[in-house]
């Protein structure tokens, strides 16, 4: 059932805002590594904080040497983009309008802002553009999925489900792209590097095209699995459990902007 942003509880609005912040930051960072123009915009160092008033868990986008990465926590060097509320944040980062306060802390803030605005437009466009090859889209979607899993697990709706999923590290492969996430208790954490040791479980997409279809929700994972387009190995309850967490993440992504209330 598609839910409107206006119908979300304050708590769910906060979760959506956190998910959107995490997702946007990760996509922006991933896009900087794929798009040469974005790479140029972050050739000089800066760090930009992204958060919302009354919302915990801000993130930092740190740029250096032509690519960006995401670091949790506060204290950005260049400045902040602070949304005035969780609702404003969720709305703005879902493609609508929401009030945001720019807080410059250093001259590099202008560079940071230019990069963020460009990348935040470019990353979703890359995903939507039919002419962009799956090889480009797959790493972006993978990054987005892992970021989504990491952020959505704070939603208490998932706690009983998370309690049933065994702890462990899951590696996800999509053609040439790969990422890993560690589930421990009720939290999940994207790993900066692919673990050298064999992970608890591996989810492999046959190719980038399949990854794009499944991760964008155009193909059901269980169906792709049955047709051999997706392979799972190792600790199955971990992979299958995370499918259930992904469902909740998708539910948040499907929240529509709806009518703006006065």
């Amino acid at each position: 059932m598609n839910t409107s942003l206006n119908d979300l509880s304050a708590e769910d609005l906060g979760h959506l805002a956190r998910i959107r912040i995490s997702l946007t930051a990760r996509l922006v960072a991933a896009a900087s590594r794929l798009d040469p123009e974005l790479g140029l915009l972050c050739s000089k160092p800066f760090s930009l904080g992204l958060g919302a008033l009354g919302l915990s868990g801000p993130v930092r986008i740190v740029c250096a040497g032509g690519s960006a990465r995401v670091v949790p926590g506060a204290r950005p060097a260049s400045g902040w983009l602070i949304f005035t509320s969780a609702g404003a944040c969720a709305r703005a980062l879902s493609g609508g309008k929401g009030a945001v306060l720019p807080l410059p802390l250093a001259p590099s803030f202008a560079r940071a802002l230019k990069f963020f605005r460009t990348a935040a437009r470019r990353a979703p466009a890359l995903l939507r553009d039919a002419s962009v090859p799956a090889k480009t889209k797959a790493p972006l979607l993978l990054e987005a999925t892992l970021a989504g899993l990491e952020a959505v697990c704070h939603d208490p709706y998932l706690f009983p489900r998370l309690d049933h999923i065994p702890d462990g590290i899951e590696l996800i492969r999509a053609g040439g792209a790969a990422g890993a996430i560690e589930k421990r208790g009720r939290s999940m954490r994207m790993l900066d590097e692919i673990p050298r040791e064999r992970p608890s479980a591996v989810l492999s997409f046959r190719d980038e095209d399949t990854a794009v279809k499944v991760l964008s929700g155009k193909r059901q994972a269980v169906v792709a699995l049955g047709l051999g387009e997706v392979r799972i190995e190792g600790l199955l309850p971990l992979v299958q459990g995370l499918f259930g967490v992904m469902d909740r993440f998708s539910w948040y992504l499907d929240v529509s902007l709806g009518e703006v209330r006065p």
Binding site: E233, G234, L235, Q240
Partner: protein
């Protein structure tokens, strides 16, 4: 199932069609993802004895036995014949067939400590009814179960963990680790005065893990805690019944439940399950409105009576254990020869192989997939079953395939 693989082409085509009209294509424990896709068929067409055939004409020696329901073998004429004859005479009638009385009498006589029987269709029906009767009888809500045990697909006990169920049906079910008596005692302490029942399987047979027998003091402790609390002890014997002891699996472990659920092997795959109870719960059970459209159909009851006779005729539990032991000893020895710590856990008639060196089951998946490629159907994540249709030659053929598979695995490991 890769694009190039034609061994399961018809299975694949049916799955593609299924995915359009059935959620997930195939749901629940039969979902392709529970096996190793590409190495197992998704749709089966026929079976006889201990062999199953898929829609592409591939044949397998089967060790899943319809998830345990096939105990005297697929298509056993001595069971199916009387059942088919009853269907011809009339199966689902307005009133029960006398076979219901005969079967109830037979079960009450056979199953130790049980005084009455109620028939239903699936395991879930029986376990849900058992828990409900225990709750009604005690006037208490809480159910204690072992973590990882399967008692059915109803909301109170299923893995459908959605907040709406957690907040209602699942909030009164609490879990402990099987054999963890300290944990069990703590639950009784925490929820004193609120516990209606403890529901347990005769031994622990979770998916994805080695099986585990109860310690000597496990059931005596369960029983004394239940007695002190005024709670009932339910033995969920759906999966193991008739493979451990003729009088009910609780007899094997010296347990004394008040309620026993049975099904699966009871009628060799014909749809019937049963809740058996002791006199202490007869009055409460009598006050329940118990019904289901198909719960009194005659043919499965006729099949159950015939299946009980056929189990005995074919050698019963001693034969199942002999075959299972042959398989267990053979697999463990072959594993050792190739440098693996392959361990077969559980009773001989319900074995399950895991590798001590791999808790994540990569080796299980590799082993079982390769066995399926060689025509032996072993589940990588769920316990297996021996049937009375398995012959020594089937076990030998299985072990011969395993010899090759273990060697190949060892070679790949280097």
């Amino acid at each position: 199932m890769t694009g190039r693989d034609t061994r399961f082409e018809h299975s694949r085509q049916y799955f593609e069609r299924a995915a359009k009209v059935i959620p997930g294509g195939i749901y629940g424990s039969k979902s392709p993802g529970f096996l190793v896709p590409g190495h197992y068929p998704y749709f089966l067409s026929s079976a006889s004895g201990c062999r199953i055939r898929d829609v592409d004409g591939n044949e397998f020696i089967d060790y899943l036995c319809g998830y345990g329901s096939q105990i005297v073998g697929y298509g056993n004429e001595r069971v199916d014949g009387p059942a088919m004859a009853q269907i011809a005479r009339g199966d689902l009638l307005n009133q029960p067939h006398p076979a219901m009385v005969e079967l109830a009498e037979r079960l009450v006589a056979d199953i130790e400590g049980m005084d009455w029987a109620v028939f239903c269709k699936n395991g879930t029906d029986a376990t849900t009814l058992a828990a409900s009767i225990a709750r009604a009888d005690t006037g208490k809500q809480m159910v204690i179960a072992a973590r990882g045990a399967y008692h059915g697909a109803a909301n109170w006990c299923s893995s459908n963990v959605f907040p709406v169920f957690v907040a209602e049906e699942q909030r009164n079910v609490v879990y402990f680790d099987f054999n963890d008596l300290k944990g069990l005692k703590a639950l009784f302490e925490t929820h004193r005065g609120k516990i209606a029942c403890v529901i347990l399987t005769p031994y622990h047979h979770p998916t994805f893990k080695p099986q585990e027998f109860p310690s000597d003091d496990f059931f005596p402790t369960v029983e004394s805690l239940c007695a002190a609390e005024g709670a009932h002890f339910i033995m969920d014997d759906i999966r193991a019944n008739y493979r451990l002891a003729k009088g009910g699996s609780h007899v094997r472990f010296g347990a004394h439940p008040r309620l026993v659920t049975m099904g699966k092997a009871l009628a060799n795959g014909h749809p019937i399950s049963v809740l058996l109870g002791s006199d202490a719960l007869r009055r409460t059970a009598s006050s329940f409105f118990i019904t289901g459209t198909y719960w009194m159909s005659a043919a499965p009851m006729v099949a159950a009576l015939a299946a009980l006779d056929e189990m005995e005729r074919l050698g019963g539990i001693p034969r199942l254990e002999a075959m299972g032991t042959l398989l267990k000893d053979g697999l463990e020895a072959l594993g050792r020869e190739s440098g693996f710590t392959a361990r077969v856990s559980g009773p001989p008639a319900i074995p399950f192989l895991t590798f001590d060196e791999d808790a994540n089951l990569y080796l299980n998946q590799e082993f079982c997939a390769a066995m399926a490629d060689r025509g032996v159907y072993l589940h990588p994540h769920h316990n297996w079953f021996i049937s009375l249709a398995h012959e020594v030659s089937d076990i030998d053929a299985t072990l011969e395939a395993a010899r090759v598979v273990f060697r190949d695995m060892a070679a790949r490991r280097g």
